[in-house]
């Protein structure tokens, strides 16, 4: 018997509290698979957000820190500056990263902090009951936009990849999706690239994942995957926005050798 698919070691056995069909489960698994494949589990510190994934530390089989709402990039900065040999990733939702944490993520990206960000974009605040997010689509009904997001009142949804890609500091910035098996395969490859770049101490890495929230969108999990394709993908293009380019100038600044253990 050859195993074609099984639970990754970097995931615990604990049944998650996520809603049926919530793509957090898929994304957790992809991150775990990549960490397993690269052999990084024992020197990785994950950072849990405030949001549905607040209990992520129960699902990943590795060291974790719980961050205050939006502050995960600051914690990751603290970890990487104090212990550059450790691998660190933040795992954040729309409110955590694009709302309250906007200053932290922009500055971490601008400083080129060498951790990996997994940004779960499902266009709504899930945990607190479905309020509007900076990423909520125009016209989308939420509990704090009962008549639909009015772009004349609160502006357009924020495209985080595009925003961060405008910074001069080198980095790896890409948007992926997980609403079909084909997209899941691609997402896994992109996450692997991001963690490899961190392992090799190259740059800031940011992976935005278009995700679903069946419960707060008011549809079945399968319908929610269709909604991503129809409504989110046209506005949030699934593509790379910044590749890490090792120019002579960058090469001179990046440490010559991959991070050593302390």
């Amino acid at each position: 018997m050859k195993t074609l698919f099984k639970r990754p070691e970097s995931l615990t056995d604990v049944a998650t509290h996520y809603c049926p069909g919530c793509t957090h489960g898929i994304i957790h698994r992809l991150v775990a698979e990549v960490i397993d494949e690269l052999g990084l589990r024992e020197r990785t510190v994950g950072i849990a957000p405030v949001g549905c994934a607040v209990l992520a530390f129960n699902y990943f089989n590795m060291d974790f820190q719980q961050a205050a709402h939006g502050r995960a990039p600051a914690l990751a900065t603290g970890i990487k500056r104090a212990r550059p040999d450790l691998i660190s990733f933040t795992y954040q939702g729309d409110g955590d990263l694009a709302s309250i944490g906007m200053a932290e993520i922009v500055h971490a990206a601008n400083r080129g902090e060498k951790f990996t960000v997994v940004f779960v974009n499902n266009a709504v605040y899930g945990m607190t009951g479905g309020q509007m997010a900076p990423t909520t689509m125009p016209g989308q009904v939420t509990t704090t936009s009962p008549k639909g997001r009015d772009v004349n009142d609160v502006g357009y949804p924020v495209r985080m990849c595009e925003l961060l890609a405008s910074l001069r500091t080198p980095g790896f910035i890409e948007r992926v999706a997980v609403h079909t098996p084909q997209q899941v395969v691609k997402a896994r490859r992109v996450l692997k690239t991001a963690f490899e770049l961190q392992r090799d101490n190259k740059c800031f890495t940011f992976v935005e994942v278009l995700s679903t929230c069946p419960t707060n969108w008011g549809m079945t999990p399968f319908e929610a995957t269709k909604w991503v394709q129809e409504h989110m993908v046209p506005y949030y293009p699934v593509q790379n926005f910044k590749k890490f380019e090792e120019t002579p100038e960058v090469k001179a600044q990046v440490t010559a050798e991959p991070a050593k253990e302390a």
């Binding site: 719980q66 205050a68 939006g70 309250i100 009951g129 509990t143 704090t144």
Partner: protein, 354 residues
């Protein structure tokens, strides 16, 4: 007027609107997100302004801006969000702006839990943010009382030109009780001629809390202190319960905990033990004179709180060494049962600290 059955959070929202609190900024946070959700619907109906901000830090500063422009602005949050607002509240106090904040307290510290708590007492009454200031702090123990407090809060915020904090807890925010919206009247307020409404035909107004000249800064501090002295003379509010007969124990409790104590008092009475309750309604100014007066008639005082003991420090302060002051509480979001309070009272009666 007919009574309406409403959830605490929503009743507070409705009452604030009726009191003229037409500018509201917010950020979702359990257990008070329903205030925001209700107002996102209701505020446009009454021609007010509603905005969900990027964070509570932003919210407090939005309230500052709106209040500085002479408008009744307010916000709600819960413990971790209030911590973020405290910088803004300090600025609001220092700039002498009127503002109303409601804290639906949850378990802490840190991210804590979402269940009710009274662990923000010290934060609320001893300043909360940096610097020499206080908030007028009101503590409802029912949804009706919370509803009645909103017009009072807005009036006092304008009258004293400072922040007013209404301290509820997760229980009050979430439970549903019948409420009536009254229309209290207050003495006229002075015009807000200090507000930044556009310097047409007058000298410019500046809303500011920076005073580099220490003599001028001290003038502000003295001016603020005078407000708090006036509050201590004129704003103390409390309820005394079962004090009309001789009592052995004086319970001191506020908010949800006070209701539990009332049930405990009834249970104690059935066992032949008379206990009374002093329920502070203003946490600042604290009813210290009343605590002393009523405490003297008891064998001991018992401060009952949903915390590890915060108000008990003020009870101690008020009583001095005249009578023993004990504490009983539960934490973590646990609401004590009347039976637990009864046990705590009886244990002290038998002459022990535990």
């Amino acid at each position: 007027m007919a009574k309406v059955l409403m959830k605490g959070n929503e009743a507070i929202a409705e009452s604030a609107i009726r009191a003229g609190g037409l500018v509201y900024f917010c950020y979702p946070l359990t257990p008070q997100s329903e205030v925001a959700e209700y107002l996102s619907r209701r505020m446009p109906e009454v021609g007010g302004a509603f905005l969900q901000a990027e964070s509570e830090v932003a919210v407090a500063n939005m309230v500052y801006g709106a209040a500085g422009a002479g408008v009744r602005a307010w916000s709600t949050s819960s413990s971790p969000g209030i911590s973020l607002m405290e910088e803004g509240i300090s600025y609001i106090a220092g700039s002498e702006l009127p503002a109303v904040f409601v804290n639906i307290v949850r378990a802490g510290p840190g991210l804590g839990g979402i269940l009710p708590s009274q662990g923000d007492y010290l934060q609320s009454v001893k300043g909360g943010g940096h610097g020499d200031y206080r908030c007028l702090v009101l503590a409802p123990s029912s949804v009706q009382e919370a509803v009645d407090m909103m017009p009072l809060a807005f009036d006092r915020a304008d009258r004293y030109r400072g922040p007013v904090m209404v301290v509820g807890d997760g229980m009050i925010g979430q439970m549903m009780e019948p409420v009536e919206f009254k229309e209290p009247s207050f003495p006229p307020l002075p015009p807000k001629d200090w507000a930044t409404t556009g310097a047409k035909g007058r000298k410019p107004n500046v809303v500011n809390s920076l005073y580099l000249n220490p003599a001028v800064e001290e003038e502000l501090n003295i001016r603020l202190a005078a407000k708090y002295e006036k509050m201590k003379r004129e704003e103390v509010r409390f309820e005394e319960y079962n004090t009309d007969k001789p009592y052995r124990a004086l319970l001191v409790a506020y908010g949800t905990t006070a209701r539990i104590c009332k049930t405990a008092i009834a249970q104690l009475a059935a066992q032949g033990i008379v206990a009374a309750l002093l329920r502070p309604i203003t946490l600042f100014p604290f009813p210290d004179a009343k605590v002393l007066e009523l405490g003297r008639k008891a064998d001991f005082l018992l401060s009952v709180e949903m915390s590890m003991g915060q108000m008990v420090e003020d009870v101690h302060c008020a009583m001095g060494h005249e009578k023993p002051v004990y504490f009983f509480g539960r934490s973590g979001g646990i609401v004590p049962s009347p039976e637990e309070v009864v046990t705590a009272v009886k244990a002290r009666l038998e002459g022990g600290k535990s």
